[in-house]
Subunit: 439 residues, 2 copies
């Protein structure tokens, strides 16, 4: 469950709330610049934003996890090397092109790092590069190097909002979450990502900044633990990006009095950002939250939750506010049948919106329950679907109206493990976003 | 590759071709009846078709395979018992309701079998029941028993077409394929299925009838082999139905001179029906055929092919005639990254429509290739997408215009195994079919 239950009537109200969350921890500055270029693969002009997150002093206390996709982007290859370096001084992020399997991709990433390092008076190996956008295209290195001085000149303390806005691609709105720690200091995180999201990790870039002094080894262990129950428990479309990155960086300005409180704060920020990513997922009109309980293992619980939120027919039914719970049971049975895991399902019980729909091996349905389920689905809808005049569907809002979810409970009844997984519905807006444009 | 390369200009042309394929093998009769009923779960009138496939004489020579979904329908539970019986006399199929996890489902299926047996002068255990349609609803046993006499009265030899038409649900058209064997006799198959299709098995009902005398043990071994490379190598939407059934029944009227020729004929019929199922898949506007070659194992080759045809972002790109091959490589990398299988991908090469797009660890793209890929995608499109006035997308044709596919070749380069997998794109028509109606 998110720590907050927000709702917004207008875009400006949401933006004001984001600004209220955006205070940068001590020791960080962010700067961005936007410029035009022409991709070499297709001669249509495009725009790119460069974002720099810089530390006032390079820090040994940083952590990062990257995609498990077997074709990782060049920045991931470079980033894995950076984890071995003694210190991190800045993160340089571009959107629009992800620099994945492009000829000479690693060299290009290193060229950009070298120029940023020169401007920032750092070593190139103190720069973590990140890229997100079209897979397969080549980074416009010359244009990026030409734009870097403006991004450096824009560096300012105070607010992380410019960076949250700079890193987005198909996102409808920026995403910021924070935790202010009882002993002083804060953790502030930003995320981009709306499609190709089944983190393992998720195209998701997440940057978590803190001024609390937590040693590198602790940061890395905590990040691994926290990610498992946040970013690795969501799926927009079951597609795992080649660029997923979550980085956690401490400026070590504030002494850490309570590592446990820090980890709880980190968990809150990650869990809320992960939910933000789903809520702003491409075409998502309903967030689906599946709580799997009493399962034989955590792995089974999480995989079953993923199988449900990734089942296209169930996702379509949710999009249509249609409580076609037969498709839910199909998805459970498919996963158990295909996984090879032996599981006794005779005690399985399932609820939607608190209404029992399955127990004792059979559906428990009637017209009254059907009406209650429809009401629950409609209550969780973020916006109504309507095509534009040219037949293209797109979201009519660029802020989240509320934080309600389609709530599913699956009590497997043969163990003690539990997991909560978040996903979205499958909508015309998703197809329009991904069939009608190169994104 | 299909044995035929058909194309049709008009519905009537396709229906005439179906009729030309429809001759029933000796020893079989089919009959259908259609009737109205009211489901108990929702008080909206509905229509159901009952289809009977009857043997002139009960036969010991039959085989069947069923879904691996862990919540199989009641007819699957009954059908698995029927495999142990000494003889099969008839198959009774209903559409509209699949009788899955409905209270008392097995008893209801047996009641229908008992009444059909009484009318056909068979034992109830000589009747194989099949149901397809909405999951979770209860079979209208009284209405079905009331309708059975008309279906029995309609039984006739000659053509399988009434059965091919009787078993459909969301299919746009019936599916019939045949093989006439050099030594005499024939194999004729029919299939229904358009959504919830990733056979393991696929909602897919397939009935394969032959008059060639092949003993039960041979039929069962052959069916298992043939299904693996046909129905288990397709996916519409990665959802595995609770009702999938493929049955193969011989009336043993014609001596079998060549078991090998019979198995080749069976393979042809199954492979062509499997492709028909994909081509008529819910919302499918492009059939995607992935040939994976030089893989380390058959299992890897097939799973990689499935991962590609099930990747939503790649499927959307194909729907939009957009050669966004970055998403193809993402899907490959995701599968290899998540599967835990160690695979050397450094020699991987990929082609679309014969055009090399990936080699030596990098994309091989330029504007000329992009144009060729767009032309290939457009050439494989079955129909153009357009919403109706109310915003609902549906197929404007109820016949297959051609048999062209989006042809992908993935040469893994680290082994000798190969597999071909078929899938479809992800379209507005799929979402409309599954979000806007209970099906």
């Amino acid at each position: 469950m998110p720590s907050t239950s927000l709702s917004f009537q207008h875009r400006d109200e949401h933006r004001a709330w984001l600004a209220s969350q955006a205070a940068l921890p001590a020791g960080f500055r962010v700067g961005t610049t936007r410029f035009d270029f022409v991709p070499i693969e297709t001669p249509k002009p495009a725009k790119m934003t460069l974002t720099i997150i810089a530390l006032d002093q390079a820090t040994p206390d940083f952590a990062a996890v990257f995609t498990k996709n077997a074709f990782p982007g060049a920045p991931i290859i470079v980033g894995r090397q950076r984890l071995k370096e003694p210190a991190l001084g800045a993160i340089v992020v571009n959107n629009k092109i992800s620099n994945v399997c492009a000829p000479g991709g690693v060299e290009t990433a290193e060229r950009v790092c070298a120029e940023a390092a020169r401007l920032l008076k750092l070593s190139p190996r103190q720069i973590l590069p990140s890229s997100t956008g079209v897979i397969g295209w080549t980074l416009p290195a010359d244009a990026m190097i030409g734009a870097l001085p403006q991004a450096v000149a824009a560096l300012a303390p105070g607010s992380i909002l410019p960076a949250a806005e700079g890193i987005v691609t198909t996102d409808l709105y920026p995403k910021i979450r924070r935790a202010d720690l009882p002993g002083g200091g804060s953790i502030v995180g930003i995320a981009k990502g709306a499609g190709m999201i089944e983190p393992n990790l998720a195209t998701m870039l997440v940057y978590l900044l803190t001024d609390v002094a937590v040693p590198r080894a602790d940061l890395r262990a905590m990040l691994a633990r926290v990610i498992d129950a946040s970013f690795n428990a969501i799926s927009i479309d079951s597609d795992t990006s080649t660029s997923d990155t979550v980085a956690l960086v401490s400026s070590s300005r504030v002494p850490c009095h309570d590592l446990g409180a820090f980890e709880r704060g980190l968990h809150t920020v990650c869990r809320d950002l992960a939910e933000d990513v789903v809520r702003n997922g491409e075409g998502v009109r309903h967030v689906i939250r599946v709580a799997v309980t009493n399962a034989a293992s955590l792995a089974f619980a999480r995989a079953l939750g993923k199988a449900i939120v990734n089942a296209p027919l169930f996702k379509c039914a949710v999009a249509g506010n249609d409580p076609n719970v037969g498709r839910l049971v199909q998805a459970i049975g498919k996963y158990v049948g295909a996984s090879g895991v032996k599981a006794d399902l005779s005690k399985l019980r399932a609820k939607m919106g608190g209404v029992e729909i399955f127990a004792n091996g059979a559906f428990q349905l009637n017209p009254e329950k059907e009406n209650a389920l429809v009401a629950h689905l409609k209550g969780a809808e973020l916006y109504a679907s309507a095509p534009s005049k040219d037949g293209v569907f797109s979201a009519p809002i660029d802020f989240p109206r509320h934080e309600r979810c389609v709530e599913l409970e699956v009590d497997v009844g043969n163990g003690v493990a539990s997991a909560t997984v978040l996903g979205g519905d499958l909508t015309h807006e998703y197809v329009s976003e991904n069939a009608d444009y190169r994104s």
